[in-house]
Symmetry: C2
Subunit: 154 residues, 2 copies
C-alpha cells in the first residue's frame, strides 16, 4: 500500500511541476539523499502512483487557439452506440479529451481547433454525422485552467 508521507507528497508535487529534473535537483529540493530520492521515485512508479511523464505543448503555438466543449446526447443509449461514439471522438485529431458521463449528456468532448470555422465543420460534419448522435451543444472555452499539483486527498 502506498505511503503518502511528506517526502512522497513533495516528490509528486515537484515532478508534476517539472518532470525533467535530475534526481540530484529533486533530492536537493526535497531534502533527502540522492539514493533515497531515486528509490522513492522508483517505488512510486512500481506502485502505479506515477503513470507517466508527458510533455505539454502550447495549443495556440501549434495552430489551435480555439477551444470548445461539446456536449453530446446519444440515442439510443446502448453500449454499441457509446463504444462507437467514444471511438469516433478519440479518432478526431481536434479532440483533446472526452468524458463519458452520467446525466444529461452522455459525452463531453473537449476540442482545440484553428478557428471557429474549423469548429463548425467539426461539429456538423464529423460529430453530428454519427447516427447515434441525438443532440449536440457546443460551448466555447474562454480559459482552460489547470490546478497543479494534483494531490492525494486524506
Amino acid at each position: 500500500m502506498p505511503n503518502f508521507d511528506t517526502v512522497n507528497r513533495r516528490l509528486l508535487a515537484e515532478l508534476q511541476r517539472n518532470a525533467r529534473q535530475t534526481n540530484r535537483e529533486l533530492a536537493r529540493i526535497i531534502g533527502t539523499a540522492e539514493s533515497t530520492c531515486l528509490e522513492r521515485v522508483r517505488l512510486l512508479h512500481a506502485d502505479g502512483i506515477i503513470t507517466g511523464h508527458h510533455t505539454e505543448v502550447d495549443l495556440p503555438a501549434i495552430g489551435r487557439p480555439v477551444q470548445a466543449i461539446i456536449g453530446v446526447r446519444l440515442s439510443p443509449k446502448t453500449r454499441a452506440a457509446v463504444d462507437e461514439f467514444r471511438s469516433l471522438a478519440l479518432s478526431l485529431p481536434e479532440t483533446l479529451a472526452a468524458f463519458h458521463t452520467a446525466g444529461g449528456d452522455d459525452f463531453l468532448v473537449h476540442v482545440a481547433v484553428p478557428g471557429t470555422g474549423a469548429l463548425d465543420s467539426l461539429v456538423l460534419d464529423r460529430l453530428a454525422a454519427h447516427r447515434a448522435v441525438a443532440e449536440l451543444r457546443t460551448t466555447l472555452v474562454y480559459e482552460h485552467l489547470r490546478r497543479r499539483p494534483v494531490e492525494p486527498l486524506l
Copy 2:
C-alpha cells in the same frame, strides 16, 4: 515562426508519449543525429511550443477515484464574480481543471474526489456557498479519456 516538419512532429509526439526519454533514444526513434535532436528540442522550448514536462499520477491510486464535472452559472455575470469564482475553483484541492466558458454555463469544474460523499459536500459546502453561484449541475464522469499526442493542425 515555428517549423512543423516531420522531425518536429515526431519529436512532439514522442515527448508527449514519454517526456523522460534520453536524447539518445529520442534521436534513435526519430532517426536524426543526437546533436540535431538536442537542438530541435531546445528550439521547440525556446519557441514556446513546448511549455513543460509533467508527471501524471493515477487518481484512484491517490485516493481520488470519483470524478465529476460541475457546471456553474453565475449571477451577476460581472468580472468580479468571474474572477472570484475562478480563484475559488482553483483553490480547491479537489479541482483538476476549470473551464471558463461562453454559453449556458459560466464555468465547468472538473474534480476528482475520494467518494460521492466528498463530492456532495464539495458541491454544497464549498461551491454553492459562494454568493455569485446561481445554479450548479453536477455530472458524474464514468470515463476520462485523453487523446495523445496533441498534434499541430494544418
